[in-house]
Symmetry: C2
Subunit: 140 residues, 2 copies
């Protein structure tokens, strides 16, 4: 499957995530083993087999949820586009989203299509003030 823009690939990524559709999810990723997926707090998953296994486990464990995404930052190059987004998940019948997840998504153009090569997701502590943290907490 070819996505004409990074935005199209990103929409397909979050649609596959929300519908827990593994085939659609893996169609968004580049078709080579350079890909890497980092779920929050977890070690990197390298290559298509590991990335697919990670999503399969997650989809099997997850109940119904909705995800809303906001762009926070973008770096556009000719054949690579980096998008940093905030993911807001609303789980089950909850009315409020969970604290956001921050994700760095890197897309690569190959031929006429764009695919995902990196997804690095991590918790975002709302209202966190890293400037005032001390080394005793999280230094960096």
């Amino acid at each position: 499957m070819n996505f004409p823009t990074p935005e199209a690939a990103e929409s397909a990524f979050y649609a596959a995530f929300q519908t827990r559709n593994l085939e659609a999810m893996m169609a968004v990723w580049a078709n080579d083993d350079s890909i890497v997926c980092i779920h929050p707090m977890a070690a990197p998953l390298d290559g298509r087999a590991a990335v697919a296994a990670g999503w399969r486990s997650m989809f099997e464990a997850a109940g119904q949820f909705r995800v809303h995404v906001e762009i926070a930052h973008e770096i556009r190059e000719t054949t690579q586009v980096l998008r940093i987004v905030r993911e807001f998940l609303v789980i089950g019948r909850e009315s409020e989203p969970r604290p956001p997840i921050l994700a760095t998504n890197l897309y690569r153009k190959e031929g006429e299509g764009w695919h995902l090569v990196l997804h690095h997701a991590s918790p975002l502590q709302v209202g966190g003030t890293p400037a005032t943290r001390t080394p005793a907490a999280v230094l960096h």
Copy 2:
């Protein structure tokens, strides 16, 4: 300052981090406002002024520490190199490193030199098994 390889830029980055040298730190970053720095759990800092302010605050708050870095994954393109590393910090007189931080570092080649354009650092929960997490914890 020009770094001949992404590895040279990365070494300079962690040397500047460890020595809390703001000038050396900012020399590693690309000289434009597309840069973005994400400290663990914190919101993205966009552009040179915000990135510098973040490091200044952190350097002022931090005591002595050492940092050891291990490469976990790499994606090499002609003019961009992505390196995912584990950062191990040993703080003050502690003998053991803190739990690792996972960082995605993206370097861009401009002219003959490589510079950092993205640093996304996040906590890595050692031994974490994302596959078994339930939506009630961290879904994704």
